[in-house]
Symmetry: C2
Subunit: 337 residues, 2 copies
């Protein structure tokens, strides 16, 4: 008798879970694959990733000497210890310049799942994206020549490039940024949500499951979908009048639209929006409901959605902090000006 | 017969090695102990170090939120991937302010062996030293209140402090900087020189042994001695007229003297001198000979000394890059101004 009841209960739970994962899948939500081979197909469709390239890309990612000043690395604004961003409303860079369009540094974690990069989606992939901030005057302010001169000045870097790409490798700026992009492709963070979608029905608490349902019902997944739970379209009208929108002069893409960011690890990447003007997650949820969905999200709904978003906080890859090659006599000198 | 010759040769080599290590010891050079227990006595005489405190101290060391801007951590200027410093002539900090006295960031590696801290030796230990740059306006520009508010705003930090110090811990600014200092105590880098001094006569090449002999004979060990191979006295007259000395207005200690830096990892910490005005190690060696020893060090001698200094390049501790606690609603906001 007890056994029968247990069985019934179990079946009901399974049906419920199955129904929710089905709803989520129908809403366009896709988990990070549980299988490493499947994940690799997704993040490295060209099959370029090797351990040697990743290790080298990590060094370059953490190396401030790529910047003109010698003070700013990729990790300065996309800090892997801080949710993959900097926690600052608008990015700061070379000569303490605030981003001229008051743009917030997006997280590098799971950026591989974005089908385009930057807040206006102007860059097709991480390798291309990596060329931008290194050269931007308000960010790392380096020239291509500076970057390749820095790396080529260090025998230990050259040895690693030869090891990764073969002895005839030409260590150009593009080869360097490609290698950084490859490292960034590995920065994915599977979460309890993924475990749930991949079949572990106990991975989410009751509240988190309810939150996922609210997220779908309210319509958040209209834009925040795909493996990235965002990152697949430009859909926020930058000229729309909404709270805090008057900070910065960002124009969005050709249609005045702003990129939908990933919601993975969103609990760790405040402040929010492309201009970093919203401080709390709940306020961001309510604002998005109002502007994007024309819905007055209730406090209870916002709390429920927040419960779900917490379940998107992912397991970060373990990073051995890299010891960088030693500068040589020919390494370009840092220039703070 | 052959056996006898072998024995004689071996004995001679041992005697030679023994003679050089004896010369080095007589010159005041002391290796980092090979035994972990002996090393601990040296770096942690009060027996305060625990794994929990070190792991917590590492997080705080890497956390830019301790700074006013949220952009600068201890590691920004004392980069553990770059010889423990920043490779920049004069340190840069909050609002891109160059150190007002044009002082160069010293390496944090082996700083535990300094008997006093800072270029004028005004601080007795690492725990006290850690309070300085965090509060200095041209560096991290934070108040004590900011730092303790930041750390106290994050439940994960508080849990780690309780775990490290007991549940009644009061997470004050001083407790935070003490914990950073404890982490820094572990940043020691044993080198081939230490292996040699500790009995492995093959740890140094012929050239490195000759370099050690030159180092002693020329008189470098007069100031660069002790376990730190420096860090034990203030002996450079800051008002002496020498090349590049006119950069910066640093006054040294009460007697106008500047601290002798450690030579450990000196190959990785260019540019040199308290004001970072000498670019190559060879030039630094020759300048020191001229000013401090009244000796015209020949090019051959300088090269030989450089051979020895390379043998002071140490094995760095492995650092797992820390994932930092997530900011909460009450965490003070970054302020770039």
């Amino acid at each position: 008798m007890i056994k029968t009841i247990s069985l019934v209960t179990l079946t009901t739970t399974l049906l419920m879970a199955s129904s929710l994962t089905k709803d989520a899948a129908n809403a366009g939500l896709v988990p990070i694959p549980a299988s490493n081979a499947e994940l690799l197909k997704l993040i490295d469709p060209k099959g370029l990733i090797t351990d040697a390239k990743i290790e080298l890309g990590k060094k370059l990612y953490f190396d401030p000497r790529l910047s003109k000043s010698g003070f700013i690395s990729c990790n300065s604004c996309h800090n892997l210890g801080e949710g993959g961003d900097d926690g600052i409303a608008a990015a700061v860079g070379h000569k303490w310049t605030v981003n001229p369009h008051h743009l917030n540094s997006p997280s590098v974690y799971n950026a591989v799942f974005n089908d385009k990069q930057f807040w206006d989606g102007r860059s097709p992939d991480l390798e291309d994206q990596a060329q931008g901030p290194i050269q931007a005057a308000p960010e790392m302010a380096a020239t291509k020549e500076h970057v390749s001169a820095v790396v080529n000045s260090m025998p230990a870097y050259l040895a690693e490039f030869k090891n990764a790409y073969g002895k005839d490798v030409n260590v150009t700026f593009e080869k360097i940024t490609d290698t950084i992009g490859l490292f960034e492709r590995t920065l994915v963070t599977p979460s309890a949500f993924d475990d749930f979608m991949n079949g572990d029905e106990n991975a989410l608490s009751k509240e988190e499951k309810a939150g996922l349902q609210t997220f779908i019902t309210v319509g958040c997944a209209t834009c925040h979908n795909g493996v990235g739970v965002g990152g697949g379209m430009n859909s926020l009208n930058v000229t729309a009048t909404y709270k805090h929108m008057n900070v910065g002069d960002f124009k969005g893409d050709a249609n005045g639209m702003v990129r939908v960011p990933t919601l993975r690890n969103v609990t760790q990447t405040a402040p929010y929006f492309h201009n970093g003007q919203i401080v709390t997650l709940k306020e961001a949820i309510v604002e998005m409901g109002r502007i994007q969905l024309g819905t007055a999200i209730t406090d209870a709904q916002a709390s429920s959605i927040e419960d779900f978003l917490k379940a998107l906080e992912g397991r970060k890859p373990k990073i051995d902090f890299p010891m960088l090659p030693t500068s040589s006599a020919t390494t370009p000198k840092p220039d703070l000006n």
